[in-house]
């Protein structure tokens, strides 16, 4: 009897051991590249071209890699600012536009309502990679070529199918009685939307904002095509230029610093708002 119990306990312990062993191994595989890159980026300038063995700074903590990254383009601050402006601008505009559209689609009746909704969602089927050439020309005609505003507008458009869908669902979930009550109290239209309904659809807004921020912060091809002026480059374009090398030599320290600057905000936003991110993912998957 006792031996049986012991055997079961031993098996459970072994099971838990192999479970956690596998888990830790997987976590290392998926996280180690980040940890090694971030640690390596703080090595001394003389170590930058050496393999990261060990990955942490051995000659003391140093910002050399960031200093040399700063010597590319218009300086790392300028490019971080470009990326931040585009990403935050995209998030804000996407929220505003999809909030209004989601409200309109959820609460109003008008001609071609369903057709227009399907039209917005259907753009998901068309990859933006296939319309970059005309986009380039249309933006030039509008005087928005090589401009961060033009790029932001393109990014907002790319976010709309997902965001409008999310926001319409968010409004659909709000009981109509709340609106009726607010109407009786005299709140109408935009005031009703902002004062009464906005707090109720806030989780949807956060989800929409996170996806808009991350996608536009990380986007590469459109930025590569639509921005031609060096000082306008967003971070991914800058760092890929660093990787391409200068005078035949590649400054790997600057690449490590660049990857750190690009990925840390994403990891931070994700860890902070994981719940909302996963909600968006599930909504997309279930749809």
């Amino acid at each position: 009897m006792t031996t049986k119990k012991e055997a079961r306990a031993r098996r459970a312990l072994f099971g838990a051991g192999s479970y956690h062993g596998t888990g830790i191994l997987l976590a290392v595989f998926f996280l180690a590249p980040f940890v090694i890159t971030i640690l390596s980026s703080f090595r001394h300038g003389t170590e930058a071209r050496l393999p990261p063995i060990p990955p942490w700074p051995t000659n003391g903590f140093s910002l050399d890699a960031y200093r040399s990254l700063d010597s590319f383009g218009a300086g790392v601050w300028q490019h971080t600012l470009n990326s931040a402006a585009v990403a935050i601008g995209t998030a804000l505009l996407t929220v505003i536009v999809s909030l209004l559209a989601g409200y309109g689609f959820s609460r109003y009746r008008f001609m071609f309502k369903n057709a227009l909704f399907v039209l917005i969602i259907a753009t998901l089927m068309i990859p933006f990679q296939s319309i970059l050439t005309p986009l380039f020309i249309i933006l030039a005609k509008l005087g928005l070529n090589n401009s961060l505003i033009g790029l932001t507008l393109v990014y907002v458009t790319l976010q709309l199918p997902f965001s409008v869908f999310m926001m319409r669902n968010a409004f659909d979930a709000v009981p109509k009685e709340i609106e009726e009550a607010a109407r009786i109290d005299g709140a109408r239209d935009l005031r009703l939307l902002v004062r009464v309904l906005l707090p109720l659809v806030l989780p949807g807004i956060v989800t929409v904002a996170i996806f808009a921020f991350l996608n536009s912060w990380n986007e590469f091809l459109a930025a590569l095509v639509l921005l031609s002026d060096n000082s306008k480059f967003t971070l991914p374009i800058l760092i890929s230029a660093v990787r391409a090398g200068r005078l035949g030599a590649i400054d790997w320290g600057a690449v490590q610093a660049g990857v750190t600057v690009m990925s840390v905000p994403c990891l931070f936003v994700f860890l902070l708002l994981q719940r909302y991110y996963m909600r968006g993912l599930m909504a997309g998957a279930v749809k």
Binding site: A16, H20, G23, L26, A27, F29, F30, L31, P33, I36, T37, R49, L50, P51, I53, L100, A101, G104, Y108, R109, F110, M111, K113, L116, L119, T123, I126, P127, Q129, S130, I131, L132, T133, P134, F136, I137, I138, L153, V154, T157, L160, V164, D172, K176, D189, N218, F220, L221, V225, I239, S240, V255, Q256, V259, M262, S263, L267, F270, L281, A285
Partner: protein
């Protein structure tokens, strides 16, 4: 929804219908303007451009279907299509081969499972460009981490340049993409796994089905819809691959790693054959819409049987 609408309408104070129509349109107007301006118009414009010889500067000249004739006889376009198809097949298999076991691993609610899920998912939230840059350094022969690691494990020579030959460079790119994307596919598959009622597995176990039988005859058939979705996401994503080849291999040894999007990019924005680029973009668009339609069909088939 519609029932609730029609029930609640009589109690509501009737307002002039036309006014509310205009209001609704007003709310969706900004979204519509953006979608028309930066999506519908470009799609139509792609077609128009594809009928022209369209240089960056100077006047476009109408040349009818010549761009399409050129496309069908362009061997480099075919090799780009071929390479893209090859990449799509390999990477999709690789992603699923890892993501499925991962999804099963993190399915049950156990201690630390949230931590493991989050760790596996982390690479998904950084950009493909960041991941490419990270791994191109990682796999660099002089300054990287992979050579010392693999040499220490005795797998390769310390001085192996991964980016010198097609196969090893392709392997590194795939390794990066799997590392970056597996967590995403894992989560999608996880939603499918968790939607399966546990009673079904229990019933099969009582009926004497072993673990593998349960997986093949209970789990897999019930996951058809989720599988179709993640499969299509992976396939369409891979067909549009660009960042990893541009950043990591710059087209690869002997230009063997030029994907379709990369080739269109080169024709449009390096050689400035914008009209020809538009024709190929339209071909790509048709291919992807066909795949999307196939996806919808696949999903519908799954629905009917479920």
């Amino acid at each position: 929804m519609t029932l609730a609408d029609s029930l609640s309408r009589p109690t509501r104070r009737r307002r002039p219908k036309r006014r509310s129509q205009w209001k609704g349109l007003l709310y969706i107007a900004p979204a519509m303007v953006l979608v028309i301006m930066f999506f519908i118009l470009p799609v139509l414009f792609t077609f128009w451009m594809s009928l022209h010889k369209w240089p960056l500067l100077g006047v476009p000249r109408f040349i009818g279907l010549n761009n399409y004739i050129r496309m069908f006889s362009d061997t480099r376009f075919y090799s780009a299509l071929g390479f893209t198809a090859y990449y799509t097949v390999i990477i999709t298999i690789a992603i699923f081969a890892l993501a499925f076991p991962l999804a099963i691993f993190v399915e049950r609610q156990r201690k630390m499972v949230g931590v493991y899920r989050t760790a596996i998912f982390m690479p998904v939230v950084v950009g493909l460009a960041s991941a490419s840059l990270l791994w191109v350094w990682f796999a660099n022969v002089d300054s990287g981490f992979l050579n010392p690691l693999l040499a220490w494990l005795g797998i390769v020579d310390l001085k192996t340049n991964f980016f010198a030959s097609f196969d090893s460079a392709f392997f590194i790119v795939c390794l990066m993409v799997v590392w970056k994307v597996a967590g995403f596919t894992m989560i999608i598959l996880l939603t499918g796994l968790q939607a399966i009622p546990t009673e079904l597995g229990e019933a099969a176990r009582i009926d004497g089905a072993n673990r593998w039988k349960r997986f093949f005859y209970v789990t897999l058939p019930l996951m058809r819809k989720t599988m179709a979705l993640s499969l299509i996401l992976s396939v369409t994503g891979s067909i549009l691959a660009f960042d990893q080849f541009y950043i990591m291999t710059a087209g690869g040894p002997q230009n063997k790693m030029i994907s379709v999007v990369y080739y269109i990019f080169n024709q449009s924005f390096v050689s400035f054959n914008l009209g020809y680029g538009a024709a190929m973009s339209l071909a790509l668009l048709v291919i992807l819409v066909l795949i999307s339609i196939f996806q919808l069909w696949l999903l519908r088939v799954g629905e009917e049987r479920a």
